[in-house]
């Protein structure tokens, strides 16, 4: 039950990181997912990955604050937008709770925890696939990486150093993204000098 609650909070935080207007809140949401994964790893009896994960979450938060936060614009809400956002948020909360419940009910034995990890990966990929803001895309990638770490520990990898690889990727990505925003702005749809 505690695992389901922890994952529900992390998935909600991941969706919030993608949806919130203010990037500062995204950073805190990503940090919350990072710390949540560390708690999960500790509960699974993997103190080494948990410690590394905690360090990674701290350093990534610091890196985001230094590189990406200065590139974000101040919060601007249009009239009436707040209500529609609240309705959307309520819908998302209900969907997540329902998804976690279904996962717990239908999955055989302990496999529901794998499904929860997969949901967290998908919550990260959601930002990458549907958000136009480069900063949100970076946040999504980092969250998907965190979810992968949770899944590894779940699978029995108790001594892993993979959080360090994730940390290196997150720091390098935020650095490249901040340079790119300086030149071309944060809207990915407007970055079309190269056409794939």
């Amino acid at each position: 039950m505690l695992t389901i609650a922890l994952f529900a909070i992390m998935i909600l935080a991941a969706v919030y990181a993608a949806e919130t207007r203010e990037f500062r809140n995204s950073i805190y949401a990503v940090a919350l997912v990072g710390v949540g994964v560390a708690i999960f790893q500790l509960a699974e009896g993997a103190p080494v990955p948990a410690a590394l994960q905690l360090i990674a979450a701290f350093v990534v938060t610091y890196a985001f604050n230094r590189t990406l936060l200065p590139k974000s614009s101040p919060r601007e809400y249009a009239e009436g937008e707040m209500i529609s956002r609240l309705v959307s948020l309520l819908f998302i909360v209900l969907s997540v709770v329902l998804a976690c419940g279904i996962a717990a009910a239908v999955a055989p034995m302990n496999y529901y925890r794998y499904l929860l990890s997969l949901l967290l990966v998908l919550a990260g990929i959601y930002a990458v696939a549907f958000k136009k803001d480069i900063k949100k895309i970076v946040a999504g990638i980092v969250i998907a990486g965190y979810a992968g770490e949770a899944l590894l520990v779940l699978a029995g990898e108790k001594q892993g150093i993979t959080p360090l690889a994730g940390l290196a990727a997150a720091v390098l990505l935020s650095f490249i993204a901040s340079r790119l925003i300086d030149r071309l702005g944060a809207d990915i749809t407007k970055i079309r000098e190269l056409r794939g």
Binding site: I141, A147, G148, G156, T162, A169, L173, I176, E193
Partner: protein, 489 residues
């Protein structure tokens, strides 16, 4: 012999650490360091073929597990050979680009990661090495921090890290199903795993590594990244990275760990055929030489996937032979494009013309590369494409053979365009002052061109000595586990 496996990874790591120090003392000493590291690596790769048989399994087991068989021997040979020539080329090419110390460090890190992926006998070693190689590659694409480079690097980064997340999830599922990361054990225990776990994890692996290999529809990052990167990096990306981090990993995991199912084969064949056509048609419309070559890489990866996906001995042989050939051909072509760009200041074919008279060595070698990649005899590309087409006919799928032939015609048309617009015709006035590239840049070009010719002329020996041991390793399928456990430890 088994200690050569960790040494192969340790050497470039040492090079990465020492390169900045050597650069501070003297730039020439850093050049020599990088040349020595890549030369020793290539010597180790060659030594893997002697004295024992080329398909002998060698395992290094300590805190990490590394393994060598016929397939990894072939990949190590291709990677180290290309890396050596790219290193020679870079000593002159990077003079004008600055930050040579950083470039060398990242290049060496990337090489260590590539060797790690190829030699991995453990899924975690494979994943960590994959990340090391990929992170270095993202940084190398962004090298110089110009806007286009940043954009290309960011796209590559996002696709690459999304792929890594899927691969990590798949590794987690495999670990959960088998209780181990050791690939030999995994291949044995996976036979007893629940079918749905196998289906989900092989699907995730195929998607993740398919993105790294730039298979259709995950190919969009490749033309941007390969065009924006400095030419030696493009040569490594196209010649080695997409093969070791993408195609090799697919082969190792799909064939040797899971056993290649008919569903998997159908997916790989279909994606391969589509990739040939998409890369071919997109390439022919390009006016940027490197971009054209990048789309050609997409197309050639399609050939490799097609051959492997057929899963017949002839198809696998054609696929692996083309993988080896393409590493040489495409690194040659990208290095040639780099020489032209550095001499003329442009990559656009409509701004070039008549360069062959001023840069004969670059022209001749690029011509050899163009003929080879188009499948013209007696160059190496002819044989590998012929084997793939024959394999398609052998399995009764004539439409696949037709796709392969159409792809080859498109490749030839694209490279004829390069020859006609960039090298032939009247020399433009603005280009009258250009000179042939320095010796350190032309020697790798001529050597790789010679390799294209010799590998074609000596095809029977290459097939029996290098390709067949790799085919045997792939054909072993999940017996890989037993072979590795019974190998030299």
């Amino acid at each position: 012999m088994k200690y050569l496996l960790p040494l192969l990874i340790a050497l470039p790591l040492l090079g990465a650490a020492l390169a900045p120090l050597f650069c501070r003392i003297n730039r020439r000493s850093a050049d020599i360091l990088i040349l020595l590291v890549t030369l020793f690596s290539a010597a180790i790769a060659v030594s893997f073929y002697w004295p024992g048989p080329a398909n002998e399994a060698i395992v290094f087991h300590s805190r990490i597990t590394l393994a060598l068989d016929g397939l990894s021997r072939l990949l190590v040979l291709a990677a180290s050979g290309v890396a050596f020539f790219v290193a020679v080329y870079s000593t002159a090419y990077m003079e004008k680009h600055g930050s040579k110390d950083l470039f060398y460090s990242l290049f060496m890190l990337m090489l260590a990661g590539i060797y790690g992926v190829i030699l991995a006998g453990d899924l975690m070693v494979m994943y960590i090495s994959l990340e090391v190689a990929a992170l270095s590659a993202y940084a190398l694409v962004a090298f110089g921090f110009e806007t286009q480079k940043l954009e290309a690097s960011f796209k590559y980064f996002i696709m690459g890290e999304a792929a890594s997340a899927l691969i990590l999830v798949a590794i987690g599922l495999v670990r959960a199903a088998t209780g181990t990361f050791d690939m030999a054990e995994v291949s044995l225990r996976l036979q007893l795993a629940a079918p749905y776990i196998k289906a989900v994890s092989v699907g995730l692996f195929l998607t993740g590594f398919g993105m790294k290999a730039a298979l259709f529809p995950f190919h969009a990052w490749l033309p941007d990244a390969h065009t924006a990167a400095p030419s030696p990096v493009s040569a490594m990306l196209s010649g080695v990275i997409i093969k070791s981090l993408g195609v090799y990993a697919i082969v190792r995991i799909a064939f040797n760990l899971f056993g290649f199912s008919s569903t998997c084969a159908a997916i790989v064949v279909t994606l391969g055929a589509l990739t040939i056509l998409v890369g071919g048609f997109m390439g022919i419309g390009q006016w940027d030489i490197k971009r054209l070559m990048a789309f050609s890489s997409v197309s050639q990866v399609g050939y490799i996937a097609l051959g492997l996906g057929l899963a017949t001995p002839l198809g696998v042989m054609g696929g692996l032979y083309h993988l080896f050939n393409h590493a040489i051909m495409k690194s040659l072509l990208f290095l040639g494009a780099g020489s032209v760009e550095q001499a003329t200041g442009t990559r656009r074919m409509d701004e070039l013309g008549g360069v062959s008279g001023k840069m004969p060595a670059t022209w001749l070698s690029t011509l050899a590369g163009s003929l080879a990649i188009s499948g013209v005899p007696p160059f190496n590309g002819f044989w590998s494409k012929l084997f793939i087409i024959m394999a398609c006919v052998q399995t009764g799928r004539l439409w696949l053979a037709l796709v392969a032939v159409i792809g080859s015609v498109l490749t030839m048309a694209a490279f004829l365009k390069v020859q006609r617009h960039a090298f032939m015709g009247q020399l433009k006035e603005s280009l009258s002052g250009i000179k042939e590239a320095p010796l350190a840049m032309t020697i790798p070009l001529l050597s790789l061109a010679l390799a294209c010719l010799l590998i074609g002329l000596l095809s029977p020996f290459v097939v029996s000595g290098l390709i067949n041991p790799a085919v045997a390793a792939v054909a072993a399928g999940p017996e890989y586990g037993r072979i590795m456990i019974g190998g030299i430890r």
